[in-house]
């Protein structure tokens, strides 16, 4: 029988997923530092929900449970969703979003390798559409909050929606810079005056830019480890920069500068961790460039003209639909064939 090759040298799926999780760790630490330890609770909640849902679905679908739980793909989905949610999201929001991501967006489509859409972004989009108020209400970074919630306070708030006595919700939350920019721009305020608000930092959101920087660090680690290809983040960030640069150049009073767009919202999380999901993304090098660039353009357009403050989730989901088309039309030239 001919069963060569007899040798292999490849990281397993579990190792790949583990490295993705590892790359998220700096971002999580920065997040916890800026917004408090509540994110840890959210991540644990999402992880447990994802693993239970995955196991139950695998059992129902009569698939081997252990090897598929060990591939850690459900954990990656859970972490990405948890990081996309507002830090003080109530527990049921986390559970509903994770269940939707794992059960419907992933397992009902056939499980690992078969989902056409990014499961974390499906979970996020469902929550954003269903519970827009909760989903856009972010706590202020601890350095800006009038009242600083401790870890236990956050735990209580997540599970019981109880704040410490005498503390009002408004005291711990604030609009995100992207949201604030959008609403203020609608009032025809100049960007330069808008960004004078305390929630704006040097580059993006105050505090948020540190988290973003940590994501960049993790993302570069993934590129170095060849877990993700350079095409996706490069094209995404380049397109986002180009779009914001064009608008900023035309009217700097009305549009935020490119650096702000790069360092705000989920730009870098998306560039290195979300559009790089291999299953729902294209496989050809050119396809990756087009996919990521289009996602970057869409992100900017949704941020600037759409109904939601950030456009990453919708941009990615829309582009997921184009993946088969991109793959089919960006086949590289085969050795010995003409272009």
């Amino acid at each position: 029988m001919n069963r060569s090759p007899y040798i292999t040298d490849a990281p397993t799926v579990s190792i790949i997923m583990l490295k993705v999780l590892l790359a998220l760790v700096p971002g999580i630490f920065a997040y916890a530092w800026i917004y408090g330890g509540g994110i840890i609770i959210t991540i644990i909640l999402a992880t447990v929900t994802a693993l239970l849902a995955e196991a139950a679905m695998l059992k129902l679908r009569q698939r081997p449970v252990k090897p598929h739980l060990m591939d850690l793909s459900a954990v990656v989905t859970a972490w990405l969703l948890a990081l996309a949610l507002p830090p003080l999201a109530p527990w049921w929001l986390v559970v509903v979003g994770t269940l939707f991501a794992i059960v419907i967006a992933k397992q009902l489509y056939g499980g690992l390798g078969y989902n056409p859409f990014n499961p974390a972004m499906i979970g996020y989009a469902v929550l954003l559409i269903s519970f827009p108020i909760i989903m856009t209400k972010w706590p202020a970074p601890l350095m800006l909050a009038e009242t600083k919630l401790g870890f236990l306070d956050q735990l209580q708030y997540i599970f019981g929606h109880i704040l410490p006595a005498g503390v009002q919700v408004d005291a711990v939350t604030s609009a995100t810079p992207l949201d604030y920019l959008k609403t203020q721009r609608m009032l025809n305020h100049e960007v330069s005056s808008i960004t004078q608000a305390p929630i704006f930092g040097v580059l993006g959101a105050k505090g948020g830019e540190i988290v973003t920087g940590a994501y960049l660090l993790g993302g570069l680690y993934l590129v170095q480890q060849r877990i993700i290809s350079w095409h996706l983040p490069t094209a995404f960030l380049a397109a986002l920069t180009a779009m914001s640069l064009i608008f900023y150049a035309v009217n700097p009073a009305h549009y935020a500068n490119p650096l702000f767009h790069l360092m705000s919202g989920a730009s870098l999380l998306c560039a290195f961790f979300i559009i790089t999901d291999p299953i729902s993304g294209p496989t050809t090098p050119r396809g990756k460039l087009y996919f990521a660039a289009a996602a970057g353009v869409l992100t900017y357009l949704i941020r600037t003209y759409g109904g939601y403050p950030d456009g990453v989730a919708f941009a990615v989901l829309i582009m997921n639909m184009f993946v088969p088309l991109l793959d089919a039309h960006t086949q590289p030239r085969v050795f010995g064939h003409k272009q």
């Binding site: 029988m1 001919n2 069963r3 060569s4 090759p5 007899y6 040798i7 292999t8 040298d9 490849a10 990281p11 397993t12 799926v13 190792i15 790949i16 090897p67 591939d71 793909s73 499980g111 690992l112 390798g113 078969y114 570069l220 590129v223 170095q224 290809s229 350079w230 490069t234 291999p278 299953i279 993304g281 496989t283 050809t284 090098p285 793959d327 086949q331 590289p332 030239r333 085969v334 050795f335 010995g336 064939h337 003409k338």
Partner: protein
């Protein structure tokens, strides 16, 4: 980390995947760097194996036709004597590796993935190792045609593993001019070191062989391509061809599969052979180092192909290269390497990337056997269970042909073979790089092998079906034609018979047959019916007549015979004659009626008023095919008469 940042930055700047250039080579996409394990078998020089107890020589040791056996059981043969001669052009001869007696000609297990037995000649060596008459050729002063013809008798085939008969590669002149001879010394598969050791020890002979091949091909330049993991071989080769002009030794980076002929050409010359062409179409021919050495030995000493260098490595006590006579049983080779160590499960022929499991260790060494690896679970652990494809495209990054293995996998898995073909499945060289890098442990190459074999089988089945259909159409057309011919013959006969009728003026059947005298005017089914009735009446009449004749025949016949001369008897004879004529006439009428019926059947045989549209369409289609076939035959006949 720093280098990767630099690389990342350079990627950002340059916009494509660029490796830091090792040499001025023309890179191809992908490739992998498996651990070489070459030093295992290069510490010892090439050993010589003692003549074994018996030699089992499979007839099928090369690509092409099986050679024709020229010896019988019991024959005594000398070393180098031809045992089987090349049959047809693509074939190679088999020679006796030593002197001895042919003890068996029959089926034995051969080293092939199928594990099926095949024809072999078994030789019992006499231990004297006596050469037969050797006929060296002065290649410089002999016509090329003669040299190529002589090479056909040498039994030399490509020793890199492809085993394509060498005389064809050299004799492929006339079509296009070969300007460059590439000597493949890349030996990119792990574990294999036979070419490496050959170059270290016998570089002079290799270079002499290169000269011969270059001369035969008329190639202006010759380039030797060696991977940079063989510095000793490179030095030896450079030393050996120092004095030669137009010969260069180039070092290529160690990157599997650089030893693939098309990829080596690309690395060395930057030429990409179009997928539907051969390297000779662009003036390049590739030979393996061991093959050119065999050519040198053949022309300079008259030695045919009787041995080769084989690497025995893996889980054996002392891995080494040996010069092994073809037909040597594998156990002798294993014993020479100190025997297989514990935990050896089986043996692999070829390298770990493209080799195959030997069906048993009781096979013999053939012209294709460049390497034998003793396998153990430690060396080649069984692959973990396959996981779903996560579309990470590592396989696409590794594919040296720039295919999209993940897409091909989907198509092969879902039996979507047409799509697989569209995505250039047949450009896959089965190098195994995709499987090597797959995080999901999917045996991708096996899916491609399966898809290829299914497509080839389907193509063959389709071809057979087409042929059968063509044959059936032809048969139908032939039946139709024969029917018409028969009818024509009957008509001719009827016409001549009528002429006879008129002459003899037999009145009786004429009245009744008048109705069907003009078949041209009677074309309705009614007429056919009438004709049939008339014919039936005629038949009945004739039968009656016969019956009456038969009734009084016992006496009549004898009387007629005895008294033929009497007037009475003459009258009887006349009557008999007349009866006979009536019979003939009746037969003619019958034939006429039949012909008419047939003709009408030909014109309007089908009750197509009452059939469904689909059936009607089918009938029309069949008619069209028949018509076409008829025309074809007519045209063919016309051609033949011309």
């Amino acid at each position: 980390m720093i280098t990767s940042i630099v690389q990342f930055a350079s990627k950002l700047i340059r916009g494509n995947d660029v490796a830091l250039p090792l040499t001025d080579m023309h890179k191809f996409n992908g490739g992998v760097h498996p651990a070489g394990h070459k030093e295992d078998s290069t510490t010892r020089p090439i050993g010589k194996l003692a003549i074994p107890e018996k030699l089992i020589l499979p007839l099928r040791q090369h690509v092409g036709h099986i050679p024709k056996i020229k010896v019988q059981v019991g024959d005594y043969v000398l070393k180098g004597q031809m045992l089987a001669e090349a049959e047809g052009n693509v074939s190679a001869a088999i020679h006796a590796p030593t002197s001895g007696t042919v003890i068996a000609i029959g089926k034995e297990v051969i080293p092939h993935p199928s594990g099926l037995p095949d024809m072999c000649i078994t030789l019992k060596p006499d231990g004297k190792d006596t050469w037969g008459a050797l006929q060296p050729l002065d290649w410089r002063n002999t016509a090329k045609r003669e040299l190529v013809a002589s090479l056909r008798l040498s039994g030399i085939v490509g020793l890199g593993g492809a085993t394509f008969p060498t005389h064809i590669k050299i004799g492929a002149d006339g079509k296009s001019h070969i300007h460059t001879l590439v000597i493949n010394a890349a030996e990119c598969e792990p574990y294999i070191t036979c070419d490496d050791m050959l170059m270290r020890e016998r570089a002079d002979e290799i270079v002499k062989g290169m000269e011969i091949v270059q001369h035969l091909l008329g190639a202006e330049t010759c380039i030797v391509g060696i991977e940079d993991n063989k510095p000793e071989a490179t030095v030896a080769m450079r030393d050996a061809c120092k004095t030669l002009t137009n010969v260069s030794v180039k070092v290529v980076p160690t990157l599997y599969p650089s030893g693939d002929a098309r990829h080596l050409i690309h690395l060395l010359l930057g030429t990409e052979i179009p997928h539907n062409q051969r390297s000779t179409d662009v003036g390049i021919q590739v030979f393996n180092v061991a093959t050119v050495l065999a050519i040198y030995r053949y022309f300079s000493f008259g030695e045919p192909a009787i041995s080769r260098i084989v690497t025995i490595t893996g889980n054996v006590a002392s891995p080494q290269n040996f010069e092994v006579l073809f037909g040597t049983p594998l156990p002798s080779l294993i014993a020479a390497a100190g025997g297989a160590k514990t935990y050896t499960t089986h043996f692999i022929m070829g390298g770990p990337m493209m080799g195959f499991d030997l069906p048993t260790s009781e096979v013999s060494i053939t012209k294709a056997a460049n390497c034998i690896i003793a396998a153990s679970p430690n060396l080649f652990p069984p692959p973990p269970p396959a996981m779903p494809c996560i579309r990470c495209a590592r396989c696409a990054d590794a594919c040296p042909v720039s295919l999209q293995p993940q897409e091909l996998y989907w198509f092969a898995k879902s039996d979507n073979f047409e799509k697989a073909r569209d995505y250039n499945l047949f450009d896959c060289i089965e190098c195994g790089c995709c499987t090597y890098v797959c995080p999901s442990n999917i045996p991708l190459v096996q899916y491609y092998r399966y898809a290829k074999s299914e497509i080839i089988a389907a193509d063959m089945a389709k071809e057979a079906a087409d042929l059968a259909r063509e044959r059936n159409d032809f048969r139908l057309a032939r039946i139709e034609r024969e029917k018409l011919e028969r009818a024509q013959k009957h008509a001719d006969r009827a016409a001549s018979a009528k002429a006879v009728d008129k002459k003899t003026e037999v009145a009786k059947p004429e009245t009744s047959s008048s109705e069907i005298e003009n078949p041209a005017t009677s074309s309705s089914a009614d007429d056919a019916k009438k004709a049939a009735i008339v014919a039936a009446i005629e038949r009945a009449k004739a039968q009656k007549l016969v019956a009456t004749n038969v009734a009084d025949s016992p006496t009549e016949k004898t009387v007629a015979a005895e008294t033929a001369t009497t007037p009475e008897n003459e009258a009887i004879a006349l009557k008999a004659k007349q009866d006979k004529q009536v019979l003939i006439a009746a037969a003619i009428e019958r034939a006429k009626a039949q012909k008419l019926a047939a003709a009408q059947a030909g014109v309007a045989p089908k009750n197509i008023e009452n059939v469904s549209v689909a059936v009607q369409a089918e009938i029309n289609e069949t008619d069209a095919i028949r018509e076409k076939a008829k025309q074809m035959i007519a045209a063919k006949e016309a051609d033949e008469t011309l």
